[in-house]
């Protein structure tokens, strides 16, 4: 167990290190000059030179890399070129949107998908099953930004039920804020739910084919009890995997949705930062995301151990 954790954490750090090099290197070759962008087209060369000096863009590559790394190790992610405020602050702002959004979507998709998946697995071949699966097929195929488009058009513009986008900030009142996250959540959640429900179904069907299910039946357990006590937990493993992946995706992969609803979230922060060549922001945020994803994977691994004692044994 301890060994397992230590090994995992070692690998995680190694991964992070490699990732940091990758990120930094990629952004080194990215064309475009932040100073230039900030000062605009009529800026004089000396003004730009002066600004580059201020931003420390003239230092040698290695020096900048290491100062970046060591900064991060001390929790200092540098200052945004364009906003000239600490990246931490920026991220802190944005995370209050991205995180709830991700969590809400995950929650929504889970509460939709798992029951549906279990239901159609237990009613395999029934009309309900086939229609749910047909729906999920479509659900998987719908690009979330298209769904978002339609939702905005019908619910926000046509029916005027919810704001079409934007985020008033949590201090504008919990309900108000939540309302503005409603559509984004739905458009993110539904396609995910479609995938999740299929996984759940097939995972459960897989386990229901196992010998120990027959054993349980032979013990006199009812179908329901068998599924509940002997099917579910064993079926959780693939579901957990997908949940992990989906959370990671939702945290970072929401750029497009954030753009549709002009939510000031992490994804959009990076997106803007890239176009403004606010490299330090891009680097730091991407690194944070990578770190988060790694942590999520770690949690998922631990969840495996909780679910499946055999792994505990193997990874002891």
């Amino acid at each position: 167990m301890i060994m397992f954790l230590i090994r995992k954490i070692l690998w995680a750090t190694a991964t992070l290190a490699v990732a940091s090099v990758l990120v930094f290197a990629t952004l080194e070759i990215i064309p475009g000059d932040p100073a230039q962008v900030m000062l605009g087209i009529n800026a004089t060369d000396e003004a730009i030179a002066a600004l580059r000096q201020d931003l420390g863009l003239n230092k040698p590559v290695l020096e900048r890399y290491f100062s970046w790394i060591f900064g991060m190790l001390q929790g200092d992610f540098g200052n945004s070129y364009t906003y000239s405020v600490p990246v931490n602050e920026l991220v802190a702002d944005r995370i209050t949107i991205s995180l709830p959004l991700a969590l809400l979507s995950l929650l929504l998709s889970t509460v939709i998908a798992i029951p549906l998946g279990l239901y159609s697995a237990s009613r395999r071949g029934s009309l309900a099953d086939t229609s749910i699966m047909a729906l999920s097929q479509v659900g998987i195929a719908i690009p979330n930004f298209w769904l978002a488009l339609l939702l905005v058009y019908f619910l926000a513009i046509w029916l005027q039920l919810v704001p079409a986008g934007g985020f008033p900030g949590w201090d504008a009142g919990f309900v108000v804020a939540l309302k503005s996250l409603l559509l984004p959540t739905i458009s993110l959640a539904l396609p995910q739910a479609a995938i999740l429900s299929r996984i759940t179904r097939s995972a459960l069907l897989e386990t229901l084919g196992e010998d120990y299910i027959r054993t349980a039946r032979a013990k006199g357990l009812s179908t329901g009890a068998t599924i509940w006590k002997h099917g579910m937990r064993n079926a959780m493993i693939p579901v957990l995997t997908i949940l992990g992946l989906q959370f990671a995706y939702l945290l970072a992969g929401t750029i497009i949705i954030e753009n549709v609803f002009y939510l000031p979230g992490l994804g959009r922060l990076v997106f803007q930062a890239i176009s403004l060549r606010d490299l330090i922001v891009v680097e730091s945020v991407v690194m944070m995301l990578v770190a988060t994803i790694i942590v999520i994977n770690l949690i998922v691994d631990l969840a495996y151990l909780w679910v499946d004692p055999r792994l505990r044994h193997r990874s002891a």
Binding site: V37, L39, E46, A47, L155, L161, P163, G165, L183
Partner: protein, 498 residues
């Protein structure tokens, strides 16, 4: 089915919540305004950056200059209540208002004014428009409320220049902090800035000038045209001074909730051409292009009819404007012939680098399609501003590009050496030099006309259209500017009628 169910559920939830929120908005709406903007400013100090977004938030609202530009483009007194110009046109004496206070409570006087000007023109200043101050020889404080500016040479547009956002007045104590916490003399104080979302301004209680109606003003940043539309329709935003999606005008106009005002801007939208790069160094090729452009089609297609065709680099609403649109009428045969003469009977390949704005990306597609008709095959390369500026504008590594030149009265750029058009004409330079020394209006206009004709003759760039400003705002809002002679959203006159 599942989807529908969710939609229905969503509908239920939200209908339950709707009343509270709407009510809340209705009351708040009276003295507060939410202004939509396409781009978020990187920071809020107009003296340290070019992006129009900065001025559009703080100019005239938070910061004021000695003079200011009125909605018609006229020069009006601001912190300077009046001024005298010496006979030789080289000495300007400004009389400043009394009892003006910065938002931090410190008083504004000639010392601050001198500081502001000197700071802007100083060595290593990061002012994006240092050119504006290049003409200044010295700045002296006569007394607390009198400032004397000595110019090297007479400059006809000096007062106009002083009205630019880059020439606003700042206090020595707070100047450095203006990027994140702007401290000016204007009717609004800086409130808060939700990065990536909005900037909030609040009424400045002890404003020296005529008090304003609004208690609170919010600038919300919405990069995406579609999002802007939904925001407008959903009532999240009260006004867009310059609505990014012209195609939606008919729809918005039809909606009684909104007032749609098409105004003029200083934005000459042109097909910028690299005048030294073959084959574009051949005037016949450039003229061929001019003949091949169907301006109206471009305006209809890219701007959905918003905009005025131009034949030169000058704002049509300016009294000195000369209509040269018919110098190169749409005529493919003529164009083909010119190309043939220039030695390109079968046309040629070239690149067209397009910056992000809709007018450029859409216009680009149309231009490409039109030039294809005379055998010029353009490869479209979309670029971020962050690439466009260094590559195209600085390094001049481009064939053609499309951009809207929004600075007011900027025909002078054609005389700058090594400007990104790579255009140089002694005749033109002479004209501009003369213009700069002339102060008399009539003579100035004559010279301007001459300048316009020269660049049109040389077909320096593909002159396409004057960018129209599609202002959209809540029908109950009064006092927003219809035109934008300078990059600004002057909210001083805005109020709600009910």
């Amino acid at each position: 089915m599942k989807t529908m169910k969710k939609l229905f559920a969503a509908a239920l939830v939200t209908t339950a919540l709707a009343p509270l929120v709407l009510a809340g908005q209705a009351i708040a709406a009276k003295t507060s305004l939410v202004m939509g903007m396409a781009l978020e400013p990187p920071h809020l100090d107009p003296t340290a950056g070019a992006p129009a977004a900065i001025d559009e938030v703080v100019y005239a609202n938070v910061f004021e200059g000695l003079t200011r530009i009125g909605s018609k483009g006229e020069v009006l007194p601001a912190l300077a209540k009046s001024w005298e110009i010496s006979a030789d046109g080289k000495t300007y004496t400004f009389n400043l208002h009394h009892g003006v206070k910065f938002h931090d409570g410190s008083t504004f006087d000639a010392e601050d004014a001198k500081f502001s000007l000197d700071r802007a023109r100083a060595e290593g200043s990061t002012n994006a428009q240092k050119a504006l101050f290049a003409g200044i020889d010295s700045v002296t404080v006569k007394d607390a409320n009198t400032l004397v500016v000595q110019l090297k040479t007479p400059a006809g547009n000096f007062l106009f220049n002083m009205g630019w956002g880059d020439a606003i007045m700042v206090a020595p104590e707070t100047a450095e902090g203006n990027k994140v916490n702007p401290v000016g003399t204007g009717p609004f104080k800086f409130g808060s800035w939700v990065k990536g979302a909005s900037v909030n301004l609040v009424k400045n209680g002890d404003y020296w000038g005529t008090p304003i109606a609004l208690e609170k003003a919010t600038f919300r940043f919405i990069s995406d045209p579609a999002a802007s539309l939904s925001a407008m329709l959903a009532g999240d935003v009260d006004a867009f001074a310059n609505f990014p999606a012209p195609e939606t005008m008919p729809q918005l106009r039809a909606d009684p909730r909104f007032k749609v005002v098409i105004g003029s801007t200083e934005g000459e939208t042109i097909l910028s051409t690299n005048n030294t790069k073959p084959p574009f160094n051949d005037v016949r090729v450039r003229r061929a292009i001019a003949h091949a452009l169907d301006r109206q089609a471009i305006i209809d297609g890219a701007m959905f009819g918003l905009g005025t065709p131009i034949g030169t680099h000058f704002a049509p609403h300016h009294p000195a404007y000369v209509n040269l649109v018919d110098q190169y009428p749409m005529d493919l045969e003529a164009a083909k012939k010119l190309l043939a003469d220039a030695g390109h009977p079968n046309g040629f390949k070239a690149t067209l680098k397009l910056p992000p704005p809709t007018y450029a990306r859409r216009g680009g597609e149309i231009v490409a399609a039109q030039l294809r008709k005379i055998g010029i095959d353009l490869e479209i390369i979309p670029v971020e501003w962050g690439v466009w500026v260094p590559e195209v504008f600085k390094a001049k590594d481009y064939d053609l590009t499309i951009v809207s030149h929004t600075e007011p009265m900027d025909i002078g750029i054609y005389s700058r050496d090594a400007y990104y058009f790579n255009y140089s004409s002694d005749a033109f330079n002479a004209t501009i030099a003369k213009l700069n020394e002339t102060t008399g209006e009539a003579e100035r206009y004559a010279l301007m006309a001459q300048a316009q004709k020269i660049i049109s003759q040389d077909a320096v760039n593909g002159f396409m259209f004057q960018f129209a400003k599609a202002g959209v705002w809540n029908a109950k809002v009064n006092g927003l500017w219809e035109n934008s002679p300078v990059q600004a959203n002057d909210l001083t006159g805005v109020s709600w009628s009910d």
